[in-house]
């Protein structure tokens, strides 16, 4: 992340200033972003393949098989028909077609997550593990490098840590976001508070957490770093947290892509590919606002 290098601002024929182009993202940020897209897709889909080998989650040191926190199973009902049943604590949901039972109607398959969501498609735990660890080896070191880059390079302080005045405008920013009105002009030069909080949460909480809970599942690393087990409340808790982190990342991905689409998809994509971002021009000011601006100055 590197925001405010202004490129050009020559006047156009009719006197209006040309759009301001800034350098929004550094090369490392852009590279990290796209490598991460690939890594996280592979990690998610191979992770679901691994989950399918034992489609239940528990809380604690080991697996209380009779009382999972979550389970996705295929159960035969009284008519002898297989149904996909997802159980969350004491609640049961019929999820036939997606979770528990899926695939074409004439070739239903009993599996927790459907073939289209797993890597590889067929039930294949060993291959899922191979892909998961390979992508993990790319993802985790790059994450550490990127976080160090943000902290040491000063990007964290300059672009991500909220300023005091931004907290005061929290309500206003939230309201504008909910109405899908995004910052324009000079205001678009910096991340707004909601963006800062979202990126801080993902970068410094969820992504490190997903790596650490993943490592806690390794018996050798538990011997090397027993504190991992204490921090997360046991290996099965760590496995559940790992799954929840993945779910949170899917949630982030959906909101992220939706906001990229509604807030100027070409400009956003270009800024993450070439680094160049055009500050969205201020809308034609309505007279009342103009009057207020004059008062301010």
């Amino acid at each position: 992340m590197r925001f405010p290098t202004v490129f050009t601002r020559p006047a156009t024929r009719d006197g209006d200033p040309a759009p301001t182009v800034i350098r929004r993202h550094t090369r490392f940020t852009r590279l990290w972003h796209w490598v991460n897209v690939i890594c996280l897709i592979v990690l998610l889909m191979s992770g679901l393949q691994i989950f399918n080998a034992h489609p239940a989650l528990y809380w604690g040191k080991d697996s209380s098989f009779d009382a999972p926190a979550l389970s996705i199973r295929a159960i035969r009902n009284e008519e002898g028909e297989w149904r996909g049943i997802t159980q969350l604590g004491g609640y049961r949901f019929d999820t036939t077609g997606v979770l528990g039972i899926s695939g074409p109607v004439d070739a239903r398959e009993r599996r927790a997550f459907p073939a289209w969501a797993t890597l590889p498609g067929p039930r294949w735990l060993s291959a899922g593990r191979q892909w998961h660890f390979l992508a993990g080896w790319l993802f985790a070191p790059l994450l550490i490098a990127y976080l160090l880059y943000l902290v040491i390079g000063g990007h964290l302080r300059r672009h991500l840590l909220p300023r005091r005045d931004e907290w005061r405008r929290l309500g206003q920013t939230l309201g504008e976001h909910l109405r899908l009105r995004f910052p324009t002009g000079e205001e678009a030069r910096h991340y707004n508070l909601l963006q800062k909080l979202a990126y801080l949460l993902v970068l410094f909480v969820i992504l490190p957490l997903v790596v650490l809970t993943g490592l806690t599942m390794s018996p050798t690393l538990d011997a090397a770093w027993p504190w991992l087990l204490d921090v997360f409340g046991g290996r099965q808790s760590a496995r559940t947290l790992h799954f929840l982190c993945a779910l949170a990342l899917v949630g982030f991905f959906l909101i992220h892509v939706a906001l990229v689409l509604v807030s100027g998809v070409v400009n956003n994509l270009r800024s993450m590919i070439t680094g160049r971002y055009v500050l969205p021009p201020d809308s034609i000011p309505d007279p009342s606002e103009e009057a207020r601006d004059e008062q301010d100055t």
């Binding site: 080998a53 080991d62 697996s63 289209w116 191979q130 390794s218 018996p219 050798t220 690393l221």
Partner: protein, 259 residues
């Protein structure tokens, strides 16, 4: 209100559905083929070697797996894989309470050994309450008593050329090839690596590997061979099974089972 879509719409919709399905299938088939390719297998093996190297660097030779309190022991210890070998010799030995069963230790050793269950139980033992982590994802805590493998190896006298300890078992999973596993010397000499004959204070049940199973507490469950009949010291496991060092390793699982 007319809700019936026009025929062209239907055709288009059908085409799009089929195209999406075909595209998805092609992508998945491509991924499966890639997974099976020699090049990809080499990449995966390199990744696994990296994992092994780094994990070995982080976990010292002696770093112990966590040991739990008796209150943590699971009510029933889950049995996985083969739970009752159908090998005739094994059945005969089991019928007699393994009185005639003997463990063979041979290969690259100074003194090959043949020990009865009583002789093993007479040796110094270690008891540990540990967590068993299955490659599928579940965990189960149990108390194990057995002979420290390092003691047995010392008694047999391991020759310098030996690099791996291979465990030959009585079970054939789903009637296929015989089960076997291998550890390198570092994991074999770890103080918590046992040949266990006792689970939760009672004789090891058949479902859990009677009369003797391996406990390698810093590894996943598939390393911990059940129904161990013979311990062989070798320089290389290339000539055993399909040459990958174990039953599940021969079927795509990594030899390094520390993750």
């Amino acid at each position: 209100m007319n809700r019936t879509p026009r025929p062209t719409d239907l055709r288009r919709r059908r085409f799009l559905t089929r195209a999406a399905l075909a595209g998805g299938t092609l992508l998945l088939a491509g991924c499966d083929r890639l997974t099976r390719s020699d090049a990809m297998r080499q990449v995966f093996d390199t990744g696994s070697a990296l994992t092994q190297g780094v994990q070995r660097l982080l976990a010292s030779r002696q770093a112990l797996a966590r040991e739990y309190s008796p209150a943590d022991i699971a009510p029933t210890f889950r049995a996985n894989g083969t739970t009752n070998p159908d090998d005739a010799t094994y059945r005969r030995l089991a019928a007699d309470g393994f009185r005639d069963w003997r463990l063979t230790i041979d290969g690259l050793v100074e003194t090959p050994l043949s020990l009865s269950l009583a002789e093993l139980k007479a040796m110094p033992s270690r008891t540990q309450i540990t967590r068993h982590d299955c490659v599928e994802g579940w965990s189960c805590i149990g108390q194990w008593t057995g002979v420290v493998l390092g003691d047995l190896l010392a008694r047999a006298g391991v020759r310098d050329e030996a690099r791996f300890v291979v465990f030959h078992c009585a079970d054939r999973y789903r009637g296929g090839d015989p089960y076997y596993e291998s550890l390198d010397m570092l994991e074999a000499y770890h103080p918590q690596t046992l040949l266990a004959y006792d689970l939760n204070g009672a004789d090891l049940p058949i479902a859990n590997g009677a009369p003797l199973r391996l406990r390698a507490e810093r590894q996943l469950g598939y390393k911990m061979a059940k129904y161990v009949m013979r311990v062989e010291l070798v320089e290389s496991f290339a000539s055993l099974g399909r040459g990958r060092g174990g039953y599940w390793e021969d079927r795509g699982y990594q030899w390094w089972a520390g993750i």
